[in-house]
């Protein structure tokens, strides 16, 4: 029989405009986190570059075969690049990239799968987290800080590793309380603010006065808890000080560890449009501002000892004087 992929083949020819597609991770658009950041990159490309964007969402409990089918149909429809949001796309992209050698595939958060037409978009989350650790150790009065991880997966362990190292390097006597919200494949820990709130409350009760949550949307619960208690919260992924939903707690958001997923998506699309498609590992670290620490909170900027320490650490990392661990 005919394959669904064939249906797109006709459309490849009818326009010369660049068409880009992203295939979302579980959660899809609207998760106010990872997927939404990727969408923002696509949106920006649509607006700035006149690219025509396409999106596809996964369904619950699907297997690699479904991902292969999704990517194939996106590629067949003439989309280039096709970006898989999240490491779970790795096996599927490994297969599909062979079938479409002329299409560039973006793969976020994974370098295990490589090919000339794959751009592995990865981030040094541990570096940004290290800086957060430095800031936390400096800002803490009690000497106890908290880390809340959404789901206990290697990716989030990277955040934990960097943060802990940053704290300990700054103040060896400081205590880091660590708490994960759920275990995979239960991804509630990325989406349930009530879990984040309870965990933060527990850490506050134990004396923590700066809490860093790498827990997606669940992190807003810990920000709420920390703010209500009059303590510091550190945001993640985007600059949460400027997030509309958190406006009432913004004064207590010390800073945020940013991870520029949207930029990475935009860059891949732009590179394809410019005819110089990205390939291989594209690493976003402190040096390239792919990860970093936000400074929109005036209160943070005023704490000069903190910002000085952070700046120094940043420089040391970029210069290679400090190597940040990627696993705790």
């Amino acid at each position: 029989g005919k394959s669904s992929n064939d249906s797109g083949s006709s459309s490849t020819t009818d326009s010369k405009a660049v068409k880009a597609a992203i295939a979302y991770d579980i959660g899809g658009r609207g998760d106010q986190s990872f997927n939404d950041a990727a969408y923002a990159g696509l949106k920006k490309a649509e607006d700035d570059l006149g690219v025509k964007g396409a999106e596809a969402e996964p369904s619950q409990g699907e297997s690699d075969a479904d991902k292969v089918a999704r990517l194939t149909s996106l590629a067949r429809a003439g989309n280039n690049p096709v970006i898989g949001v999240g490491f779970s796309y790795a096996p599927a992209i490994a297969k599909v990239s062979k079938a479409f050698p002329k299409t560039t595939f973006g793969l976020i958060d994974d370098t295990s799968v490589t090919a000339p037409n794959i751009a592995n978009l990865v981030f040094n989350e541990e570096q940004g987290s290290y800086l957060a650790g430095v800031a936390a150790a400096k800002a803490s009065k009690t000497g106890t800080v908290g880390f809340i991880g959404g789901v206990e997966v290697p990716l989030i362990k990277k955040f934990e590793a960097g943060f802990t190292q940053g704290v300990k390097d700054t103040n060896p006597k400081a205590k880091v309380l660590t708490q994960y919200l759920t275990q995979p494949p239960n991804f509630d820990g990325f989406s349930k603010p009530d879990l984040g709130k309870a965990a933060a409350q527990g850490q506050l009760d134990k004396g923590a006065d700066v809490i860093y949550a790498a827990a997606g949307l669940a992190g807003s619960g810990s920000i709420e808890a920390a703010a209500t208690a009059g303590k510091w919260a550190i945001g993640v992924d985007s600059d949460q000080y400027n997030q509309a939903g958190l406006a009432s707690y913004k004064d207590h958001i010390l800073t945020s560890v940013t991870k520029d997923v949207s930029d990475s998506v935009y860059n891949v699309i732009k590179s394809v449009k410019d005819g110089k498609p990205q390939t291989g590992e594209i690493r976003y670290g402190l040096a390239t501002d792919g990860v970093g620490l936000a400074d929109s909170n005036p209160a943070y900027v005023k704490m000069t000892d903190v910002t000085a320490a952070v700046e120094k650490a940043k420089k040391d990392i970029i210069d290679g004087k400090i190597t940040v661990k990627t696993a705790p």
Binding site: S4, E57, S59, G61, D109, T111, S112, P185, N186
Partner: protein
């Protein structure tokens, strides 16, 4: 006795027809109410299902649902509600993947070992609920819900690199390591469409076995009898406790097999991205198929179709959730129409019994007596 019964035919056909019409109408109404084109999504799905790769996806998914639903169904046939198929399936897939990646055996043996480990793991996990029920009276509904959650933790711990898991270089995923090619179950290559998992045929064969065991063996008779009336079965010589335990073990074993099509046919490893929720969907599939192997096949196919054929909806601008609404509506429509048809059928049957009895009895006591 074997003559074709017109009533039976009509009754047999009426259920599905009534159900299909009702669910179609209701779905269209939902779409209309939200201001969407009512026909286009359905057309899109049908068109999508015409493509060979989607068809392969549907067939493969059917096999997975079929196995898991058989696991649920065997419990239901005995009045046991094994909500724990999901956990048994996940744990079995994980453990068997571990073992499969750890050993090196010649082809068939390798596969056999993996399958046996999967069955054993699923059975043991379900057996815990069985033992708790037979020895401590713990409701299997509660214990299997708990075991599902415990599975998550257990798997998460086992798969840590410091325990048994592997984190491939450069990946953020955790896996159990790759199973060597000798442990891959050969599939049927459909060219462009991809591969039909070989294990799908094992699933179908198990459906036949399920039917045979249930309907043609003493054991199956005992099991069904226990499901229909525990007290009558006990009086007939069935050891109810043993039966409960056995049924749980079989159910768990089958649940363990549900992970095999993907593990042996596609992923060759258990990773964080291994499909979840199969066990829960299977409950619906089994109930919709009335716990009958053929019925389950159809309902598994239906669910697989709705799952996979809908993959192009969001690209075309229709919310994917339509399929879930359709699934819900179909289940309700099917069971309600079957019930209505059943009522009609029972009435017919009793009418016949009554008529024959009346005819038989009338001769006996027709003479009038007065006092």
């Amino acid at each position: 006795m074997m003559k074709i019964d017109k009533d039976k035919l009509i009754i047999g056909a009426a259920g599905p027809v009534l159900a299909l019409v009702t669910s179609f109408v209701l779905t269209v109404l939902v779409l209309l109410a939200t201001g969407l084109d009512p026909i286009e999504p359905i057309r899109l799905m049908i068109e999508n299902a015409g493509y060979s790769d989607v068809q392969v996806l549907i067939v493969n998914q059917t096999g997975i649902y079929y196995l898991a639903a058989l696991a649920v169904a065997i419990g239901f046939r005995m009045n046991l509600f094994n909500i724990g198929v999901e956990g048994q399936y996940r744990l079995a897939a994980m453990v068997s993947a571990l073992v499969g990646a750890a050993v090196d055996l010649p082809g068939p043996l390798h596969i056999l070992l993996i399958v046996i480990v999967a069955v054993a793991t699923g059975a043991i996990w379900a057996g815990i609920a069985g033992i708790l029920k037979t020895t401590r009276g713990v409701s299997e509904v509660v214990s299997t819900i708990m075991l599902n959650a415990i599975t998550t933790s257990l798997v998460a711990w086992l798969i840590l690199p410091k325990n048994f898991g592997v984190q491939p270089a450069g990946s953020n995923d955790l896996t159990t390591g790759q199973i060597a090619e000798s442990g891959w179950f050969p599939g049927i290559d459909m060219g462009d469409g991809g591969q039909i998992y070989g294990f799908t045929f094992v699933a179908l064969a198990l459906g036949v076995v399920y039917w045979f065991v249930l309907n043609r063996t003493r054991f199956g008779f005992d099991l069904r009898a226990t499901g229909e009336s525990e007290s009558a079965a006990q009086a007939s010589g069935v050891d109810a406790k043993k039966m409960i335990l056995t049924a749980m073990l079989i159910s768990g074993g089958l649940a363990g097999l549900a992970g095999m099509p993907i593990l042996l046919g596609e992923s060759h490893t258990y990773s964080l991205a291994f499909p979840v929720n199969v066990g829960f969907t299977a409950i619906t599939v089994a109930l919709l198929g009335r716990n009958h192997p053929v019925g389950i096949l159809f309902s598994a196919l239906l669910f697989a179709f709705l799952d996979k054929a809908s993959s192009n909806l969001d690209v075309s601008g229709y919310p994917k959730e339509i399929t879930q609404i359709m699934q819900g509506i179909i289940v309700i429509a099917v069971v309600v129409s079957y019930e209505l048809v059943r009522r009609y059928g029972t009435r017919r049957q009793q009418q016949k019994v009554g008529e024959e009895l009346a005819a038989g009895g009338a001769i006996k006591t027709d003479k009038e007596v007065s006092a």
